[in-house]
Assembly symmetry: C2
Homo-oligomer: 724 residues x 2
Amino acid sequence: MSAMRIPLAVVLFSLITAAARAEDGYELWLRYHQVSDPALLAHYRTTLPAILVEGESPTLTAAKKELITGLRGLLGQETPLVREAKLDDLLLAGTPKASKLIASLDIAQELKTAGEEGFVIRSARIAGKRRTVIAANSDVGVLHGGFRLLQLLQTHQRIDNLSITAAPRIKHRILNHWDNLDGTVERGYAGFSIWDWHKLPDYLPPRYTDYARANASIGINGTVLTNVNANAISLTPEYLKKAAALAGALRPYGIRVYLTARFSAPIEIGGLKTADPLDPAVVSWWKAKADEIYRYIPDFGGFLVKANSEGQPGPQQYKRTHADGANVLADAVAPHGGIVMWRAFVYDDKVPDDRTKQAYNEFKPLDGSFRPNVLVQVKNGPIDFQPREPFHPLFGAMPGTPLMMEFQITQEYLGLATNLVYLAPLFKETLDSDTFAKGTGSQVTRVIDGTLENHSLTAMAGVANIGSDRNWCGSVFAQSNWFAFGRLAWDHTLSAEAIADEWIRMTFSNDQGLVAGVSSMMMASREAAVDYMTPLGLHHIMAEGHHYGPGPWVSGGPRPDWTSVYYHRADATGLGFDRTATGSNATGQYFPPVAREFEDPGRCPEKYLLWFHHVGWDRRMQSGQTLWDELCRRYQRGVDAVRRMDATWESVRDRIDPERYEQARVFLRIQEAEARWWRDACVLYFQTFSKKPIPAGVEPPAESLDYHRSIVKRYVPGTARPIR
Amino acid sequence: MSAMRIPLAVVLFSLITAAARAEDGYELWLRYHQVSDPALLAHYRTTLPAILVEGESPTLTAAKKELITGLRGLLGQETPLVREAKLDDLLLAGTPKASKLIASLDIAQELKTAGEEGFVIRSARIAGKRRTVIAANSDVGVLHGGFRLLQLLQTHQRIDNLSITAAPRIKHRILNHWDNLDGTVERGYAGFSIWDWHKLPDYLPPRYTDYARANASIGINGTVLTNVNANAISLTPEYLKKAAALAGALRPYGIRVYLTARFSAPIEIGGLKTADPLDPAVVSWWKAKADEIYRYIPDFGGFLVKANSEGQPGPQQYKRTHADGANVLADAVAPHGGIVMWRAFVYDDKVPDDRTKQAYNEFKPLDGSFRPNVLVQVKNGPIDFQPREPFHPLFGAMPGTPLMMEFQITQEYLGLATNLVYLAPLFKETLDSDTFAKGTGSQVTRVIDGTLENHSLTAMAGVANIGSDRNWCGSVFAQSNWFAFGRLAWDHTLSAEAIADEWIRMTFSNDQGLVAGVSSMMMASREAAVDYMTPLGLHHIMAEGHHYGPGPWVSGGPRPDWTSVYYHRADATGLGFDRTATGSNATGQYFPPVAREFEDPGRCPEKYLLWFHHVGWDRRMQSGQTLWDELCRRYQRGVDAVRRMDATWESVRDRIDPERYEQARVFLRIQEAEARWWRDACVLYFQTFSKKPIPAGVEPPAESLDYHRSIVKRYVPGTARPIR
């Protein structure tokens, strides 16, 4: 009796798992699974039967590998590398310098537009034959173009009439890793650091290359390896060797490494008695240190510095300015082409002024006094990566200084990795804000891409959400924020929807129902988080230390500006921080058209209302409801939105592999519970001031305020040491 | 022109990576790749065309899944589950209780031998048809038998005449995770903890199931989730819920969870003023806590306790004995069937006696005073997991108390994960040592398997080397130590060679050349490590704190027993710790036949010589060389052995996938450099006492002693906080 004769009816298929390969999220958006549409597949196979790349370099090798691997997966067949252009159809890639075929094309103008890192993709005829051309001025441009071509296939676009010219709008597109040398990651929610310092410089696991690939695919060209709360040890030879090994792994992908510089390093590892930036010994020390670093890493990017902030050392300890501090480092790296990114994130509880005003107060007077290779790195808003903040008033206020953007990709204040919060809408909200620095049309984008003040040194940084978790970011959806940051740093004109669409198709599939459903979840998610955490302009009311969960009652402790009551100012009369002229006058830091809008409670967008105004509980909102009722209903709205996300996810279940489906499903349940936790804790707490009933339509809290206040979260990830 | 006509000569295959799936080590030894031998493949396909498992339970579901997955891979075809025994050939699995077919077999005696967790595998005829039978008394026995059958295929054994009866020789086979709630792992070198406490109890990633599979496959049936340097928070409801979720994930695989109990928990989380084990409130608290734990985890295994050791709290703070402490916990878990594992690893620098003697001094007098559900957990040697130690004198010295073995799988003192040190020879050396407690034939195995004193409560623990690294253990070869521990805990009669042979075939392939080569590397590796670290009975001469690298010069500091000079006692006359009757008389703790052997420098095995004797530099060794020359040559021999391992690895390159090959290759280079580091540092240091030249054949050190003393290793993995 042969196996063929087994009655099918008795075969229990239920136990047979279909997937040969677990979908664990490691592939990110670089999934090269076979194109499911037969017509498109035939089209791609016909158009791209082989690859011709003229020229040799580690970067071109990386590009070839990616194209071969990508096309192998997407087309389900080998796409060979050829040396001669004999075939009727061919993928042709290279630079005019190394490739005569590329040089023969009439694309000089396009190549000029493409610049150093961009590319041209063209459907062309050369000597009568059909060529899909990836042309660039540099090998890394070819690599970027290769990724873009693969993306076209991943997103099911036809490739027979291509005419794409792409160039980054911002020069330095940089991840900031808040990674410590002991492997922990400050505000990291995806395991621990991906840098295995102990095994460096000897062992370079394949993951470093996959990290580089992922970044290059979205145009990121720099990475700061170490935490802004810096450790001088990272500048010792032992660790420079390790950083150099990492730089070597990333270099073929066009990614430069940067390090954070601890301002007191001349004392801690240099043996000096001072770190005074005007002390000649200190100047010499930084110069020699930079020379040493460039011996290890010839294309070292430069330094990122957090100084005189949250306990970090800095020039002010020596009565020097931030410019004095930045310039000593800038002079040290300048001969090597390096830059210094000096953070504007400074505030001090000894300074009596409103925290939101301090960075502006500190830095605006320094405009024009920085070296040309210094960028001032400004967070998107004047506090600290809250679910929503108005744009930082420094944008537009320092015309003589290149300002760079610092976004936070890791979800420090957004429920960590288990809350689905797609951040492109947040990023775009800041980027598209008009500063009115030079009248209407002076958007933040124009400050940071240099067009407003004609700066050629431009940069955007994102605090990475990458860790040792198999899926890199702790959750599949958190991957979209890494992707979105990169895409926006490359081209800030892209819409949040368009980026979500790309990411969904590349990460899940081109199934229309899936794309529509998942896109709706993502696009709603940030507003949902604002609603269930900090609606109507509330901010900084989270639990202390680990920043996980609600803590509107947080008061006391070492610093008032680390409490919640400092920010929400709830009292019997109302809620919110008066930052108008009658209050802290933070509105006065904005250019007049913006200042007037924020100043007037009637014109101030409700999303910023409690940021700028102390508002009576009974004040009528645009909805016609009182502030109190509106506040409660926003919290409820946030919970409802998460439930809709959960329902949508369930509706696309059959279109997603079980492993990724299940993880996101569990996380959405966690998010729903946490949304209720935020809602109940905040509504109950603010009710102690409003003394008003919870309005109809808002679910009554299941637990008491005392219960919520008693919750202690220990060992929350991303905190350097256990929080009690 | 079609793609078919591309000249093959111009196709650059070099860039085409063959592997569809990266060999990242995640699969461990549970690799089910298709059997490469065509005759065997046909034999397996014929013999196992389908699977019939009668009965339903989560454990049987796990067994079915494993068999289906395993056979799918190994046979390259689906092996269906069937409900009727119609086929001529069939794999039949189950218990006599649930399966009439199994009950019909004449295997009562074999099943009695198999016991609770063992199994019988038989090639049998039932009603004239050929059946491969996996029979057991319990579902977990069926699971174990399923893994064994798959192993037979993985190791290319014929399966047409099987007659296997297997039962574990030790009841509790347990991993000890030294994992902290903040995700760090004390002495962990494979990333961070695999327990994601933050996402528990909600999210149970597939990795937990794969962890359970790996353990079940080698017979491990228990896991202590938390560090022996314990945190009382792990006993709070918040964390018990998390532990319960983990228990649920592991339960189908026959693995129970245990927790470490911090002795001061009644104070820290119970609000009591004391943790005195004789205080009625403390007794009640532990009783109530145990009842609570069992409500969360009905099959909770029990507690592991480190008390009055290295700063941990314990009963001696209240003038009570270790037995008093163990018994209060034992009484609390006894009604639920739980056990207490009380560690004998105690030593105190306030006690003037030799550290190696203190555990014996402390515990021997307590023999007979422990509750029946207490095991005393004794490390293999009297110090602390050194590359080589004589067996612990407590073995055989407490006949009235079940003693369990504690081995260390993680390589705290063995170069961390980057040194290839196969530990089965170390484990076997201890296990096979004869204590002479009841005359010759009183091996340590007979103490811990209960046969010497007729104890039915038996256990073996291994300190896990498992972490969040993709390959679980930090390196492929470190996986062999997890495997070897499990196999020996199940059956300590297995030889180190046999276990290596199984592991190599399952992990790499059955290629004879590869098996022979890799086996030779593994079997030589432990002796190599002893030679390049601590030859001739030297011990505890590593760098302080992180225990990484050599530190024979370590002295001073908070405790003499944490220095190196305490242990090696080098001086102008010679080297070694006099533990004879004229010295610390540690030899006197062994039974007379052993004591006499160790006491006599002429009879003492040279491998223990400097452990027990202070030996003159000019003393002639068995080789005819002086101690000094022999010492230097042993260090050189260790380096040479690593170089041979490296060469052997290179010789099997073509027989191994590139990814695992490359990682091990780099690690062997690291190991060779570290072997030289140990050799040079130790030879140079001891030379300052011997004042003798380095003998011929020993490579002259490349650096000075001062250089080696100046090396500072920071942020070594596995230390709870950065060193210095």
